[in-house]
Each structure stands twice: as structure tokens, then as C-alpha cells.
């Protein structure tokens, strides 16, 4: 569910490596609408390449990928659903 203040859907996948953060992103995408912003938190370094590939395949937009203390934060804007 999108956060009432930020309007973003936070998906916390920290600690997940199998099946991994892309599972949680795909699930969030099932429930998403065009215009939603998903913020994916992960610790698995594979998330960077996976999210780029996922966005290319689904034709959605990766707004940013940032290394923050203790986690990698990826922001995805849903353009198609």
C-alpha cells in the first residue's frame, strides 16, 4: 500500500537473497497502478542489475539506485501496468 505521506510504496527486501528482492518487486507490481512509485530496499547486491532488467522488460522507469548505509534503495516509477 502506498504510504499516506510520501505516496510511495515501500518494499523492504533487506536480508532476502533467495528467491530475492525481485520477488517482492514483482508482487508489488501486481498490485500497482500507473503513476505509482515503488521504493525497493534490499541488501542483495544483485538487485541493481535485476531491477534494471526488470524495468527494461516491463517498460517501467528506474528513477534512482542509491547505496545507503546498510541497504540499496531503488526507486521505480510505474509507467505501464
Amino acid at each position: 500500500m502506498p504510504d499516506a505521506v510520501t505516496g510511495r510504496t515501500i518494499v523492504d527486501s533487506c536480508g532476502s537473497s533467495c528467491p530475492g528482492p525481485i520477488t517482492d518487486l514483482a508482487l508489488a507490481y501486481r498490485r500497482a497502478k500507473v503513476g505509482d512509485v515503488i521504493e525497493l530496499w534490499a541488501t542483495d547486491p544483485g538487485v541493481k542489475a535485476d531491477v534494471q532488467a526488470w524495468a527494461a522488460k516491463t517498460r517501467n522507469e528506474v528513477e534512482s539506485i542509491e547505496d545507503q548505509p546498510g541497504k540499496i534503495v531503488t526507486v521505480i516509477r510505474i509507467l505501464r501496468r
Binding site: 537473497s17 533467495c18 525481485i22 520477488t23 514483482a26 542483495d44 532488467a53 526488470w54 505501464r80
Partner: protein, 400 residues
């Protein structure tokens, strides 16, 4: 003395109840069924027509000191510390452990229930796994599409095992050149964890299996025999073997926010306590832990909760250790933890033999008789230790 109430009757519930009985803890198990199935064997019922005698009476698997009541739980009130059942009974507890597993939910995807009704699946029951075998046995040529319908799955290796055993069956029957085998995955690759994909994907390709990554099933049209993905692709099938999505048990909770959108219990990933409650725990597939839904997790989580309830607070490290059947008598293991990503584990006949052995050891392991052997084995294959051991070598390796 505290009274422990365990809800569920699968491997996690049974192992924990037996561990607590040995510690002389008063334990009650409430389960909707008195039948206990060795779930990994459904794969062999579906793809090898194995004997379906993989179900035993739960009461015979439990220590005699454990009280077992067969009643479906309908409501768990964590604040009032009570559990209600469909029989109209109420039970209270000092400590609660939820081990209610998962259930398949084909109705999430339009068209999937009808498809599963006809062709079966190998994650629900013996009868449904036998439908898969019947469909494969009658297959004479065409396109077989196999994979999981959604990213939520019990036993992440099982789709790869299914397609590889299909390939093996068709080759043995001389039908492989008449079959197009298509493997669909909602992940970026055939196996979600990259190091294991590096083992699995070359095998799939060598056996001529087409891989469709990022294929998350949106709907199925039985009239045109077409599967559509959320990502916008479509595939036609002659024989579809589609693993349905999974959800948690149909039990109402108070407070309701201890369940996530898939009805999984929101659980602390280390202490295994249910969010906000010191005296309530969840183990196994029922949890929302960021790890594979598999028997090994339920086993190791049961140990953590048994220790904690015995006054020695323990923590779960996210250990996974899943055997994978690669066909033709070869196997591998998916091994990882919260802190050690999945390792690349080369295929071997020994790994396959160990998977086959587990089918026999399972019933003994429920009683806890094999714990010393498991402790030794899990310590010996600890992914964190292996990662530490390999790290200096990686750094020392000269650049190519």
C-alpha cells in the same frame, strides 16, 4: 509450568512439539488434519509415477506426551491469548507457535483453477500430482509450458526440477524430439538466485529447454490455449503444468495487522516472534521471513523456538539448504543464509543420493532422533563459514 499451543500439523509443528515434549513442556497441537504428508515426494508422484504412499497419521509421529486435537483453527486472538476452532472450542495458552504452512490459491489468476483441475499441479495433494502424471503419460507431442504462476512459491527449486524431470521422461520415452519444452519464470532468470542460476541455466539450455524469464502469469485463456504474462507476452500450450500462487492459512487474527497481503504472519526474522508479541512465534512456510519456504527452514526455526521457550533465547540465521533434482540422477543444493548469499554448488550424484535419502530419513527426523547428525551436517555445510574461507582466496586471485 508454561503451556505451549502449536497451531498446525506439518514438519515444523511436529518437530517442535517433539522437541518440547523431550524438555517436558506441556504442549498441545491443534491441526485441521491428522494426515501428515512428505511434501517433496509430490514431485516424484507427478513426474515419475512414484508410489503415492507419502502420508502418515500425525498422531503416530508425535511424542506420546504431546496432546493432539484435530480441529481447524478459525481465529487467533493474540491480545487475549486465545485460539478458537471451527468446532466452537476455545483454547488459551502461555506461549503460542503458529506453524500453519501455506496453501495454493489458483483463484488469484483468471483461468488457472480450471487449468489445474484438468492438468493438476504438484504442490497441492497426491490426487493433483497424479493428474500431472496422467497428463504427461498421455502426452504424445506438442508444447509443454511449465513454471510458477506468481513469484510467491513454496520450494523455489521445484519448477526447475519439474521441467528437468519432464525432459528426462520424454527422452526415455523417445518423445523428446516431438516436444517443445518451455520454462516460464517470473524472475530475471530461470533460477532466482544468480549463483544457482549459473549451475541450472546451462543444464536447461543443454537439454533444449526454452526459458522465458520475467513471465509472471496474468491470465489463462483455455479456449485459445494461451497464457498471458503481466509483462505483455503470450505463450500457447498443449500441456500446461502451472504451479499456482501460495497464501497463508485462512485464519482471522486479532490484531489483523500481523498478516501481510499474502496472509503470511509478520515475524521477526531472527527471534521468530510475531510482530508485537513476546509470547507468540511463527515458524515455517506460514511466516513472511525473507527466505525460501522449505522444510529445512521449518526444522531450524523449530529448534530456535524450542530453545527460546526453554529459557535460552536463540536466533534464526536464515539458513536454507534445499536439495535440487537435476534429472538423470544428478542433484545440487541451494545453500545460503541471511548473511551468506546462495552459493554456487556444482551438480553431483552424491547430492542427488542425499535428496533421495531424505525421503526415508524424514519420518525419523520428525521425532528428533537424527538431530545430532543434522547438527553436524549443517555445521559442516555452513555457508557463512564457507564464504569466510573463500573470501581471502578471491582477493588473492590475480586479475585476469
Amino acid at each position: 509450568m508454561q503451556r505451549v499451543l502449536i497451531v498446525g500439523g506439518g514438519s515444523g509443528a511436529t518437530m517442535l512439539a517433539n522437541m518440547l515434549a523431550r524438555r517436558c513442556v506441556e504442549t498441545l497441537v491443534l491441526s485441521k488434519s491428522a494426515s501428515h504428508m512428505f511434501q517433496p515426494a509430490l514431485l516424484y508422484v507427478a513426474f515419475k509415477n512414484a508410489s503415492p504412499r507419502i502420508v502418515r497419521d500425525e498422531r503416530r509421529l508425535l511424542d506420546r506426551r504431546v496432546r493432539f486435537i484435530r480441529e481447524p483453527v478459525t481465529r487467533i486472538d493474540l491480545t487475549a491469548r486465545t485460539v478458537a476452532t471451527a468446532a466452537g472450542s476455545w483454547y488459551d495458552y502461555d506461549a503460542l507457535v503458529v506453524a500453519t504452512g501455506v496453501t495454493t490459491d489458483p483463484d488469484q489468476i483468471p483461468g488457472l483453477r480450471a487449468l489445474n483441475d484438468r492438468y493438476g499441479n504438484y504442490h497441492t495433494s497426491v490426487a493433483w500430482a497424479q493428474k500431472v502424471w496422467a497428463a504427461l503419460d498421455a502426452f504424445r507431442g506438442g508444447t509443454i509450458v511449465l513454471g510458477q504462476a506468481s513469484p510467491v512459491i513454496k520450494c523455489p527449486p521445484s519448477p526447475v526440477e519439474g521441467i528437468l524431470l519432464t525432459d528426462e521422461l520424454l527422452r526415455r520415452r523417445g518423445l523428446r524430439d516431438r516436444a517443445r519444452l518451455v520454462f516460464i519464470s517470473p524472475y530475471p532468470r530461470a533460477y532466482p538466485a544468480e549463483p544457482m542460476n549459473a549451475v541450472v541455466e546451462p543444464i536447461l539450455r543443454a537439454r533444449g529447454i526454452e526459458i522465458f524469464p520475467f513471465f509472471d502469469v496474468d491470465r489463462i485463456d483455455a479456449g485459445t490455449r494461451t497464457i498471458y504474462s503481466i509483462e505483455g507476452e503470450e505463450l500457447q500450450y498443449d500441456l500446461p503444468i502451472i504451479i499456482p500462487p501460495f497464501v497463508g492459512a485462512d485464519i482471522a487474527y486479532d490484531p489483523a495487522d500481523v498478516l501481510d497481503a499474502n496472509r503470511f504472519v509478520v515475524t521477526d526474522k531472527e527471534t521468530l516472534r510475531i510482530k508485537g508479541f513476546d509470547n507468540a512465534f511463527a515458524i515455517g512456510d506460514a511466516t513472511n521471513l525473507p527466505t525460501s519456504k522449505a522444510g529445512v527452514g521449518a526444522h531450524l526455526e523449530a529448534k530456535v523456538v524450542a530453545e527460546t521457550l526453554s529459557g535460552r533465547p536463540a536466533r534464526f540465521n536464515g539458513r536454507t539448504h534445499c536439495a535440487v533434482d537435476l534429472g538423470y540422477g544428478e542433484g545440487t543444493f541451494v545453500i545460503g543464509s541471511y548473511t551468506a548469499p546462495v552459493l554456487k554448488y556444482p551438480p553431483s550424484r552424491l547430492s542427488h543420493a542425499m535428496k533421495m535419502m531424505m525421503a526415508h530419513m524424514y519420518w525419523l527426523s520428525l521425532r528428533g532422533w537424527l538431530e545430532p547428525a543434522f547438527d553436524w551436517y549443517f555445521a559442516r555445510t555452513d555457508p557463512d563459514k564457507r564464504r569466510e574461507a573463500e573470501a581471502p582466496r578471491e582477493q588473492a586471485r590475480p586479475a585476469a
